[in-house]
């Protein structure tokens, strides 16, 4: 009886995880044909259509609360330098798949990858 209850719970949680995985696979995009959108305080401030330039480049985004240096190259985008307090956005590393985001909460900055959806995404 005890075992069965544990199994029921485990099955329920496994089902939720499976549902999430399916969702990720269905909505996750292919890398290479994506573009990136940068939002400040919920407003779109910049769109980068080519994430695979010949040479990687960096630019600065100045917000009311601080500055982030963002680098683009090899199909991905990442925050290379930030003058925020927690550096979570820098540690977040490179993102390349549609739906992935980097959030710099202190600066209210969000970088989001958008792209065509496909089922062969790799997490």
């Amino acid at each position: 009886m005890v075992k069965r209850k544990n199994l029921t719970w485990a099955a329920a949680f496994a089902a939720v995880i499976a549902a999430c995985l399916i969702f990720i696979f269905l909505t996750g995009g292919k890398s290479g044909e994506n573009s990136a959108e940068i939002y400040e305080n919920g407003k779109l401030i910049k769109t980068i259509s080519d994430l695979s330039p010949d040479k990687e480049y960096s630019f600065e985004i100045k917000t009311e609360n601080g500055t982030n240096t963002i680098t683009v190259g090899e199909g991905s985008i990442w925050v290379s330098v930030a003058d925020c307090s927690n550096q979570t956005c820098v540690h977040a590393g490179k993102i390349s798949h549609a739906g992935q985001t980097v959030i710099c909460a202190p600066h209210k900055l969000v970088i989001k990858i958008v792209g065509e959806t496909s089922a062969d995404a790799v997490i």
Binding site: V2, K5, N6, W9, F13, V16, I17, C20, L21, F23, I24, T27, Y39, N41, G42, S85, N86, T88, H91, A92, G93, G99, Q100, T101, I103, A105, P106, K108, L109, V110, K112
Partner: protein, 169 residues
């Protein structure tokens, strides 16, 4: 309100313990997606729930969040911990009395799950965009997995000889 010496001592010990675990865990690099972590400090909150009581566990949690924020946190990290912590606490309060002795780990899964939901809501409010909810499936998975791990540790602890220090009636 009358509070026994035993209770005060246990609340103090649990608060110190969870603060240490929380700070040690903060030293490890965060996972690439959404700052995932194990949330080991939650084991202490749940242990307090079993050893002392629900109200006291809430106190331990609140003290830990305030102390951690005061020691090395920021306003933002405080807001994140608080929303995640409160939501997880409420979920665990409801779950803990409804599951049996051998399903204690389920409480922890609900805790981990709702903690991540709470943090995501805080992130949405702070960043002012719904884009962060694209992280939801990843955080649900990590919440369930870390919750299971913590829950199994908790269950092992509850069945160990340490249980004799429990003052919950």
């Amino acid at each position: 309100m009358k509070i026994s010496v035993q209770k005060i001592a246990l609340i103090g010990i649990f608060t110190a313990l969870s603060l240490i675990i929380f700070m040690v865990e903060a030293q490890f690099p965060v996972m690439p997606i959404g700052g995932m972590k194990l949330g080991l400090a939650n084991i202490v909150t749940m242990t307090a729930m079993l050893f002392i009581g629900r109200k006291e566990a809430g106190l331990v949690l609140l003290l830990r969040i305030i102390l951690a924020a005061g020691l090395y946190g920021t306003v933002v990290s405080f807001a994140f911990s608080l929303t995640g912590g409160i939501l997880a606490y409420l979920a665990m309060c409801i779950a803990v009395s409804r599951v049996g002795e051998n399903q204690l780990w389920v409480t922890s899964v609900f805790g981990g799950f709702f903690h991540n939901i709470g943090q995501l809501c805080a992130a949405a409010v702070i960043s002012g965009t719904w884009a962060v909810f694209s992280l939801l499936p990843y955080l649900i998975i990590s919440g369930i997995l870390t919750g299971t791990l913590n829950g199994l540790i908790l269950q092992r602890l509850w069945k160990s000889p340490l249980r004799k220090y429990s003052i919950k009636r």
